[in-house]
Each structure stands twice: as structure tokens, then as C-alpha cells.
């Protein structure tokens, strides 16, 4: 599956590509408007990560071009402008999601994964990880066909982990994902620990291996235990 990163800040673009590059994603980059326009006309992408302010043109025009040509590529706008109007405008213009800079790569990855899931699994919305099965429509997780009794926060957390499997996710990224970035919670993210602990306990209880690993003080990693 191919992802196009249209972002003029090369270092940010590189980071995004590096993070997303895994067995199922191949990333391509475009640093300006013209290159981006050329690439979208030549290829189809599972998802396009689109910056609005680009050299030689606006990202919104690329969005328009995509819609005019009836391209089904999923689009997530990443913009330094954090205002409801810009968000509404971008989504009305046909973007699937809108993320304000600066963001956590894990957040971007989760959103890209969500867009791709929506675009590619028509109706049959299931994510599988090892013994774990997540039914997105029903918002429930199953292990060996047994439904896990999860709270909403635990379910969101599990989905976030699976969208970022094999990656270390920082505590602040988890807090922001679950509680939103408006909540000024200071540096103390201890409260997320309770949710992680409960989720881990429930997974183990239903017979799954211990997927969640704590990485020093930085965060957590969701992966198959070695």
C-alpha cells in the first residue's frame, strides 16, 4: 500500500516516512506543489498526507484536483493552522481527516490506519493482531472468539496500540489521544497507567500473551512478546 507525503519541510517528511515505513506501507514524498500534482495524476495512493502551505501552490488545490478526477485516495491534512474554520473547510473540500501541527507520529499513524481501513475494507471492518480480533463497527475486541469486556477508554487504547504496533508510544501521545489536547494536564501522565494496567490484565485474563511492554519511563510498546 502506498502513501504519499506532501510536505515541504523535508525533515518532518522524512520522520513521517520513517515512522510509517513498515511491511504494508511504501511511502513516497513530494516537497512542492508541482511534484505533488504530478504524482497524484500518475499513481493511486491508499492515503495522502497533505500540508496546506506548499511552495508554488496550496494543498487545497491538490485536494480539489483529486476530487475533480474522482480519485478515491484518502487524504489527511496536516496544517500549522489550528482553527475550526480551516478544519471545517478542509473536511468540506473532501479531506478525510485534519491534524494540527505539531502532532505525535503515533497519532498520525493511527489516523492514516483508520482512513485506509475505511477505504479498503468495504463494510467488513475487522483488524486482526495475533489472536486478537477487533470489530470496528461493533467497537469490540475478541480473543479466541470471546468478547472482551472493555471500557470505552480501554477499547480506544487497544485500537491505538494496534495502529501503532511494534512502536513505542509516548505517554503524552496516549494522553492526548484519549483525552484530547485541550486538557492541560501538566506533565503528570500517571493517570493513564490505570487504564494500561486494566487493559493488560483483561488481555491476559482472556488468554492472550502480554503484548504491552513498558519502555523505561517514556511510554509503551505493543508487540508480540519475543
Amino acid at each position: 500500500m502506498k502513501i504519499l507525503v506532501i510536505e515541504d519541510e523535508k525533515e518532518l517528511s522524512k520522520s513521517i516516512c520513517q515512522y510509517l515505513a513498515s511491511e504494508q506501507f511504501i511511502t513516497e514524498t513530494a516537497y512542492d506543489f508541482n511534484t505533488a500534482l504530478e504524482k497524484i495524476s500518475l499513481y493511486d495512493y491508499a492515503c495522502i498526507i497533505l500540508d496546506i502551505t506548499l511552495p508554488y501552490g496550496s494543498g487545497l488545490n491538490i485536494l480539489k484536483e483529486l476530487k475533480d478526477n474522482n480519485k478515491a485516495d484518502g487524504v489527511i491534512i496536516i496544517s500549522a493552522k489550528n482553527s475550526l474554520d480551516d478544519k471545517v473547510f478542509g473536511l468540506k473540500a473532501g479531506a478525510d481527516d485534519y491534524l494540527t501541527k505539531p502532532f505525535h507520529l503515533s497519532e498520525l499513524s493511527a489516523r492514516v490506519a483508520a482512513i485506509i481501513r475505511r477505504k479498503s475494507f468495504d463494510g467488513k471492518n475487522t483488524v486482526v493482531f495475533d489472536e486478537l480480533q477487533i470489530q470496528l463497527d461493533a467497537k469490540q475486541a475478541l480473543i479466541n472468539n470471546k468478547i472482551l469486556d472493555l471500557t470505552k477508554k480501554e477499547y480506544d487504547l487497544l485500537l491505538y496500540f494496534i495502529s501503532n504496533k511494534n512502536k513505542v508510544i509516548s505517554k503524552s501521545a496516549i494522553a492526548e489521544h484519549l483525552w484530547g489536547d485541550n486538557m492541560d494536564l501538566a506533565d503528570n501522565y500517571d493517570f493513564i497507567y490505570t487504564h494500561i494496567k486494566n487493559l493488560r490484565r483483561k488481555l491476559l485474563q482472556y488468554g492472550a500473551p502480554d503484548y504491552i511492554k513498558s519502555v523505561y519511563g517514556m511510554g509503551y510498546k505493543f508487540s508480540l512478546p519475543k
Binding site: S15, D85, N182
Partner: protein, 420 residues
């Protein structure tokens, strides 16, 4: 004191003084002239008597003339000859009262017999004249005062009208307004000059303020991209499995600092946007519902810190900007949480369009002067920048809410928001 009053006071006092001096001088002068005239008459009278005696060798008979009295009195041979003019008081038989008279007295020798001749003229007419003059003067003073008063009332008010209109325009001036200030043109040079000077100063202030705001906003915007780069690099860096514990601690430190920087920048942008009235859309907000959601979000946090919450809510619906109200509630609750201690308590009361958030704390009373100031030391906790409260204040100002701070011992802080 008003300019009119001050001007009127000076005007009235000087007018009265000038008129009084004028009146006194006029009456003295008139009296002097009249008395001189009377004296001349008396001297003529004397000459006539002397001439008559020289020709006829006897005293002339007294002829009754109105307001003139002549008497002869025989005397012994005087040592010196008398010849004097003076003012005296005498009884007037006709008017039956005392009156002032001007009298000439001289001695004459008629056939070796000495007589004292006394001719007086009544000054009653003169007094009447002077009285009339005083009455006229006083009447004039009153008339002039009345005229001045009316002129000041009508003319000065009219003359000063442009000044007051300039004043009211200046009073309504708001640095934040995008509208240009407008003064009505007048046909008085001084006021036009005042208006143009004020206009220039205010436009410059507006421009400076605007560029300062734009600078803050642009700087914050421009910071977003490098912040995104740093954030992304750190997100990549923590993926490295070979990091030692020491390296991880360093990265964690940098990571936390970037989170703080993100928050700071976010707050500065938010403040700039509120000032730019970018949150103008108004909707009906079910405050109870919104607050209930927020409490749900904070519940984990409070539970984790073993804090207890007391909630008392009555249905309240307001009309305002939903985003701003959301941020307001967030900041109030965050503030009450951050400045609290483990096992502390938070009380939330929502009723009668009033929200009261009270929290226990280790910190003492906050000086209200710096309470809502940006970056003020009073509300900088170990991890904050002192922007939370100024955002609360800014949102209240922009939305027409009233924010009140209350402190009671022992270290209980409350913030009361009145939604109007």
C-alpha cells in the same frame, strides 16, 4: 470644575468688580462736578450781594428761591474777614427732614455795621441723581450678568460641542477595533487640529497594537513547524531499542520540554485568536451536559490522585461560543486540579447562570493584581507558564462573562464565573 463654570466665575467676578469701581468713580466724579458747579453759583450769589451793597449801601432783601436760603446776621467787628464754603446739614421746613446743603459764609460791612451773610443751596437733587445712577448701574450689572449667563449657556455650549463629540469618540475608542476612528469635521481650527492630532495618535496606536498581535500570531505559527520536526524526531528516537537507560532519561527530558513548548505555543495562539474575535459564532450551549462530559474526562485524573469531587449542578443553558466555553471549563478544572494536592477536593457548583469551581491547595492567597496577568509568577506552578488563568480571563472578557476570584482559609481558592 467645568471649563464653563471656571470661565463664568472669572467673568462674573471681574464684571461685578469693574462695574462697582466704575459706579463709585462715576458718582464721586459727578458729585465733585456738581459741588463745583454749586460753589460757582454760590460765589456768583456772593458777588451779586456785594455789588448790591456797594451800589445801594444796604443789604438786599431776601428773595424766596427754591432750594436756596439766604440769611443775614449782625455781628461785632470781626478780627478777620470770613469767607468760606462748606457742606452742612440743615432742616428743611418744606420736606420736613434734614438735608445736605452747600453753604457760602462771608462777612460784609454795610455802613460800618458788620453782617455775616450765609447763602446755602440744597444738595438734595444731587443725591437723587447719584442714587439714580447707582440704581441704573446695579440694573446694568444684573442685565450684563444675565446676558453673559445666557450667552455662555447657549453660545459656549455650541462652540464647545465639537470638543465634547471628540471626547466621546475617543472614549469609545478600542485598540482592538478594526474600524477606523472618525471625528466629525468642524469649522473651528483648534478643534480640527485637536482631532487630526488625536486621529494620528490613535491610528498609530491601533497599528502598533495590530502589528504586535500579528507578530505574536505569526511567531507562534512559525514555531509550529519546527516544533513538529522536533516532536517527530523524538518520536522516531524513542523507537530505538538499543537506547540505554541514561539516554532514555535524556530523551524523556527533551520530550517533556517539547510538550511544554507545544502547550505554551498553543496557549499563545489561542489568546491571539480570542483577541482577534475569531470565536464569534454563538450557539445555545447546554452547560450542564458540557460540564458533565468534562467531569467524565477529569474523573480518571482525580481518581488517580485520590481527590474527591463535590458536584452540584442545575440545568443551565447559555448562548455563547461553544469552543471558548469548552476551553474555559477545561482551564478551570485543570487549574483546580494542578494547584491541588493528593487527597484534596474540588467542588463544582452550577446554578443560576453561575459556575463556582473551588479547590483545596497548598498555595496561599494570590494577589488579584497579577492573578490574570500573563506569565505572572503567582500562578506559575512547576509545570505551567501562567497562561491558564489569563486565558480564562480573556474568554470571560470576550464572552461577556464575569470572573471573580475568592480565597478563604485554609488555602481554599474559588473561581466564580457569572454567565450573563
Amino acid at each position: 470644575m467645568k471649563l464653563f463654570t471656571k470661565y463664568n466665575r472669572i467673568n462674573v467676578i471681574s464684571t461685578v468688580i469693574i462695574f462697582l469701581i466704575g459706579c463709585a468713580a462715576f458718582s464721586f466724579l459727578l458729585r465733585y462736578v456738581i459741588i463745583n458747579q454749586v460753589d460757582e453759583d454760590l460765589k456768583i450769589e456772593k458777588n451779586e450781594i456785594l455789588t448790591y451793597i456797594k451800589t445801594n449801601a444796604h443789604l438786599p432783601s431776601v428773595i424766596e428761591v427754591k432750594d436756596q436760603y439766604t440769611t443775614y446776621r449782625s455781628i461785632n467787628k470781626p478780627i478777620t474777614l470770613t469767607n468760606k464754603i462748606f457742606t452742612n446739614e440743615a432742616y428743611d421746613k418744606d420736606d420736613r427732614k434734614k438735608e445736605l446743603r452747600r453753604t457760602i459764609e462771608f462777612t460784609v460791612n454795610v455802613n460800618n455795621e458788620w453782617y455775616m451773610v450765609n447763602v446755602s443751596k440744597s444738595l438734595e437733587g444731587t443725591d437723587e441723581l447719584i442714587q439714580t445712577i447707582i440704581v441704573i448701574t446695579v440694573a446694568l450689572i444684573l442685565l450684563i450678568l444675565a446676558a453673559t449667563f445666557i450667552i455662555n449657556r447657549i453660545v459656549l455650549k455650541k462652540l464647545w460641542h465639537p470638543f465634547y463629540s471628540t471626547l466621546s469618540v475617543t472614549q469609545q475608542f478600542n485598540l482592538n477595533d478594526k474600524q477606523r476612528i472618525h471625528f466629525d469635521a468642524t469649522n473651528i481650527d483648534e478643534f480640527n487640529y485637536l482631532n487630526s492630532t488625536l486621529n494620528n495618535a490613535l491610528i498609530k496606536a491601533q497599528k502598533d497594537y495590530k502589528s504586535l498581535k500579528e507578530f505574536t500570531e505569526n511567531a507562534s505559527h512559525e514555531l509550529q513547524t519546527p516544533l513538529a520536526v522536533i516532536q517527530s524526531k523524538l518520536d522516531i528516537l524513542i523507537q530505538n531499542e538499543k537506547l540505554s537507560e541514561g539516554e532514555s532519561i535524556n530523551i524523556q527530558g527533551a520530550y517533556d520540554a517539547v510538550q511544554n513548548l507545544k502547550k505554551l505555543n498553543h496557549s499563545l495562539l489561542l489568546l491571539a485568536k480570542i483577541e482577534n474575535n475569531q470565536f464569534s459564532a454563538q450557539t445555545k450551549i447546554d452547560l450542564t451536559q458540557l460540564l458533565q462530559n468534562k467531569l467524565g474526562q477529569f474523573a480518571d485524573l482525580w481518581k488517580n490522585r485520590q481527590m474527591t469531587e463535590k458536584v452540584n449542578m442545575q440545568p443551565v443553558v447559555i448562548k455563547s461560543n461553544e469552543q471558548l466555553v469548552d476551553i474555559l471549563l477545561n482551564n478551570l478544572l485543570s487549574n483546580a486540579t494542578k494547584h491541588n494536592y493528593p487527597n484534596g477536593s474540588i467542588s463544582i457548583t452550577l446554578q443560576h447562570k453561575k459556575l463556582i469551581v473551588t479547590n483545596t491547595s497548598n498555595e496561599g492567597v494570590i494577589d488579584e493584581k497579577i492573578l490574570f496577568k500573563r506569565f505572572s509568577k503567582a500562578n506559575i506552578s512547576a509545570d505551567g507558564y501562567g497562561l491558564g488563568l489569563s486565558i480564562i480571563k480573556q474568554i470571560c472578557d470576550a464572552s461577556g462573562f464575569v470572573c471573580i476570584y475568592n480565597f478563604s482559609e485554609p488555602n481554599v481558592h474559588s473561581f466564580i464565573i457569572e454567565f450573563n
